[in-house]
């Protein structure tokens, strides 16, 4: 949820069950973030977009980097998740309470 750059390290705060954990990680580091808060999203300025067209684009093959891709995991197929039975619209709080207590036995 929070990051601060220090000398050769990053101070991080992450969400955990029941609170927040603070860590300090030395660089180089791989940091991942599950979601991006709106204020972190930056739109490239128009001159930046133009300059991007002229930037060099180096292409490597895995072999160039000395990597042999060998999949360790295989996807065998896909299926739909179990579907839920259709629900019902209730008309009032009383009806909802009645359903929860007597029908769903959830309370």
């Amino acid at each position: 949820v929070d990051m601060e750059l220090k000398d050769g390290a990053v101070a991080l705060t992450r969400q955990a069950d029941g609170g927040e954990i603070k860590l300090e990680v030395k660089l180089p580091a791989v940091i991942s973030r599950a979601d991006m808060p709106d204020e972190w999203v930056r739109f490239p300025p128009l001159p930046g977009i133009m300059k991007a067209k002229r930037k060099p684009l180096d292409t490597f093959s895995p072999e160039d980097l000395g990597v042999t891709p060998s999949p360790r995991v295989k996807i065998l197929g896909y299926e739909a998740p179990p579907s839920r039975a259709a629900g019902q619209i209730v008309e009032s709080v009383d009806q909802l309470v009645d359903k929860l207590v007597n029908e769903a036995k959830a309370v």
């Binding site: 949820v1 101070a11 992450r14 969400q15 955990a16 069950d17 029941g18 609170g19 927040e20 954990i21 603070k22 860590l23 300090e24 990680v25 030395k26 580091a29 599950a34 979601d35 808060p37 709106d38 999949p71 360790r72 995991v73 295989k74 996807i75 065998l76 197929g77 896909y78 299926e79 739909a80 998740p81 839920r84 039975a85 629900g87 019902q88 619209i89 209730v90 008309e91 009032s92 709080v93 009383d94 909802l96 309470v97 359903k99 929860l100 207590v101 769903a104 959830a106 309370v107």
Partner: protein, 322 residues
Amino acid sequence: MGNILVVTDHVDGALSKPSFPTVTFAQQVKALEGGEIIGLVLGSGAKGVADQLAQAGVDKVIYVDDASFANPVAESYAAMAVEVAKEVNASIVCAPANIFGKDYMPRVAYQLEAGMVTDVIDASKDGDQLQFKRPMWAGNIIAKMAIETPVKVVTVRHTAYDAPQPGSASVDERSASKPAEGTTFVAFEQVKSERPALTDANVVVSGGRGLGSAEAFGMLESLADVLGAAMGASRAACDSGMAPHDWQVGQTGKVVAPDLYFAVAISGAIQHLAGMKGSKTIVAINTNPEAPIFQVADYGLVADAFDVVPQLTEKLAAVKNG
């Protein structure tokens, strides 16, 4: 046909709740593949946790006590888990798919040169091949996967498994140090609450941005108090500052599957549904009859939360007390 190593984590001197369904997963795999289930506890002064794990349904517990394990730091935990995995000839190494499992298991997989599947909800066998199911695309698709390497690393979605068959095992206590070089643990700022933890609770009352303010969440908290429920919130509500990030339910928040889930003023974006559609009974309260949340709700009330929630709280309190 090796053994199954379950890497657990703990907090406040007790085994974390998601560790138990991970043992259940191990039991499922044992029924399919054979082998022994070895539970691993890493900690400092955490013998009580090891004793707890010994009763949870594993065949043996290895407890490694060292200051370097006082807090789950990926480098230390992974290094030790890898060493133990090799020692016990583990062909399956699993952990809960919680913040800790997600943190150190990729390192474990890399160091064991093992393929890894995360967030597993089921294991089965087709002939000789062990197969795993896991949700993808916010739970809209279930993928069936196989791991091609001899050692397989898995993280387990805790809401997919019930409590394990308990048992009695011995605890092998030892000492070994795996100091972390790159990462320093600084602090764990715990939020102590009277309410149950979101991922453990039987009932969750969850609010969306439609409530308009943090004060409005107070109305939901009264309902939660009557029901002994945990509080949840949509990502939009958390990002707007109406609810703490700790309450976030969804694809990038917590995945919950309580017996009863109230979605109040939550539209039902698929990312939110991904975190709660495994709930047994879902109640939706929303002013918009077209809101997608009504597609998954068992009971839907098209109404203004501000009119309805206080009445609901009062009536449920009467039911609970009467």
